[in-house]
């Protein structure tokens, strides 16, 4: 029983790392630019496809994943330049545009890649014994990578000059401008980093799950739940919420019913909104 609980916990953490990576991108863009970027899930999907085609072309998983990150970074920058720059300050327009983007990108992907699911060969396969625990090697790898990404990004925000500028901008846009932060440049950087994170998440998703044109929707919905759960705009909140959701789903599916899997996240959200209306860390306007 104890063994089983430990295994389920680690299963939850492994998927939670993925959730957190996606939620991080969403909360970042929202916290800084004030846009709920619905197209974020599409970046996850496109990143997964870049990985799939890279692996198929013989580049191997790692190179393909790096390519996915770069491609999605560029995608984010272009999207910001062409679309979101123009909707700044108008949340409804930003929302409408990003919803529209979902349709456009998803249907283009379905038309180009066909709706058939594709599976990517993961860099490692099978399971390993860690003490008495039998764990999936690839999932452990995904956990390690997502933790490294999240941790690295967190350190970047805390320590790097640009990271500090990003946090400053999230806390006070005008204040940031007054000290010489070029707000438009940081906005684009944020979109670029957020989308690159989504690309990384896409590569990791592809190493575990089927790649389809519609795969972006689940991470997107869950990402939004998490961003809300963490207190919209709060980076530590989104990260903690990601892991929490992974664990809740894992325990729910393992010990309760697997047919209610996606419901556990919403229960968490509703409870959080009722009892912690300002998010997990209660920071209210808590930002990056």
């Amino acid at each position: 029983m104890g063994l089983d609980i430990a295994q389920t916990l680690i299963d939850g953490l492994m998927v939670g790392g993925l959730y957190a990576t996606v939620a991080l991108g969403i909360t970042l863009v929202f916290g800084l630019v004030g846009i709920l970027n619905f197209a974020h899930g599409q970046s996850v999907m496109l990143g997964a496809y870049v990985t799939f085609f890279g692996v198929q072309a013989g580049l191997g998983f790692w190179l393909s994943a790096a390519l996915a990150v770069l491609a999605m970074a560029a995608f984010g920058a272009i999207l910001e330049q062409l679309v979101f720059r123009r909707t700044l300050g108008d949340h409804m327009a930003g929302l409408a545009v990003s919803l529209g983007l979902i349709m456009v990108i998803e249907n283009l992907a379905a038309a180009t890649f066909s709706p058939d699911p594709r599976f990517v060969d993961p860099p490692v396969s099978g399971s390993i014994m860690v003490g008495p625990l039998q764990l999936s090697s690839q999932r452990l790898l995904v956990l390690a990578i997502s933790t490294a990404l999240i941790g690295g990004f967190y350190l970047f925000l805390q320590r790097a000059t640009l990271g500090k500028a990003i946090r400053a901008m999230a806390q006070n846009r005008q204040g940031a401008a007054l000290v010489g932060v070029r707000v438009s440049l940081v906005s684009r950087t944020i979109f670029t980093i957020g989308s690159a994170l989504a690309g990384a998440a896409g590569a990791l998703y592809a190493s575990l799950f089927a790649v389809t044109p519609y795969m972006g929707n689940t991470p997107l919905t869950k990402g939004f739940i998490l961003a809300a759960l963490g207190g919209l705009g709060s980076v530590p909140g989104a990260i903690a919420a990601g892991f929490l959701l992974g664990i809740a789903e894992s325990f729910g599916s393992r010990y309760l019913s697997a047919s209610f899997r996606d419901g556990y996240g919403f229960i968490l959200l509703i409870l959080a909104l009722l009892f912690l209306p300002t998010g997990l860390f209660g920071a209210g306007k808590a930002r990056v």
Binding site: R167, A168, N172, Q174, G175, L178, V179, G180, V181, R182
Partner: protein
């Protein structure tokens, strides 16, 4: 010498600043005084590129109207804006460090040491989140943050708003120190007695225009102004 010629700021159809011209010689403290909505903040925001404007803004021969805020900061013109605009969740130290965002790391360290030596309060509260400080302390942090950029021209919007008298005296002292150190300062202020006490030159703004200008004594001698700002 900071010169402003025929400055205009409009928000949609509303003209907030309607052709203002003035000059602040290097090393002088000047004060824009006027009622709420007279166009003081808009003038300062135009000077630092936060709002779009028309007209000519220059320091000496170098024009900087139309430039982005970061370029103006780089040029040595820094504003302490209304409401202080601190980063509330960051520590005092991080706030100050960000003040030197455009400077080298070495400059940043040197400047931080200087300011902490000059204002012991900053050193005392260095690790405290800026949002938890009192209003006066926050004003001090905001001024110090602006000084981190080593400006040649400092613009301060309503330095006394919401402060207790003891804090007002402290802020005044700091401004006098800066003036003594040779900094050019332009204050926007509703509190006319504070402005007259500290400034060498007063500019009275009404409805987006400068209606009176001159040394404090001369301006305050004017009956309209006395009535309007000193209530006598």
């Amino acid at each position: 010498m900071l010169t402003v010629e025929n400055l205009k700021v409009a928000y949609g159809r509303v003209e907030a600043v309607r052709g203002v011209s003035f000059a602040v010689p290097a090393g002088q403290i000047a004060a824009l005084i006027g009622a709420n909505g007279a166009g003081k903040s808009s003038t300062l925001n135009a000077l630092t590129g936060l709002v779009r404007c028309r007209g000519k803004i220059a320091e000496g021969d170098i024009r900087f109207d139309g430039l982005a805020t970061d370029a103006i900061v780089r040029h040595g013109v820094v504003q302490v804006a209304q409401g202080r605009q601190l980063f509330p969740l960051m520590s005092v130290r991080e706030n100050l460090e960000l003040g030197a965002f455009l400077r080298s790391a070495a400059d940043k360290r040197r400047r931080l040491d200087e300011l902490m030596a000059r204002f012991p309060l900053l050193a005392e509260r260095a690790e405290q989140a800026a949002g938890t400080l009192s209003g006066g302390e926050q004003q001090l942090v905001a001024i110090a943050r602006a000084l981190m950029a080593e400006p040649r021209i400092l613009l301060i919007d309503e330095p006394c708003l919401g402060l207790a008298p003891i804090m007002i005296r402290r802020v005044a002292a700091v401004l006098r120190d800066l003036h003594a150190a040779g900094l050019t300062i332009l204050i926007a202020e509703q509190n006319a007695s504070f402005a007259t006490a500290i400034a060498e030159h007063l500019l009275v703004m009404e409805n987006g225009r400068i209606t009176q200008a001159g040394p404090p004594a001369a301006v305050m001698a004017h009956a309209d102004v006395r009535r309007a700002y000193l209530g006598i």
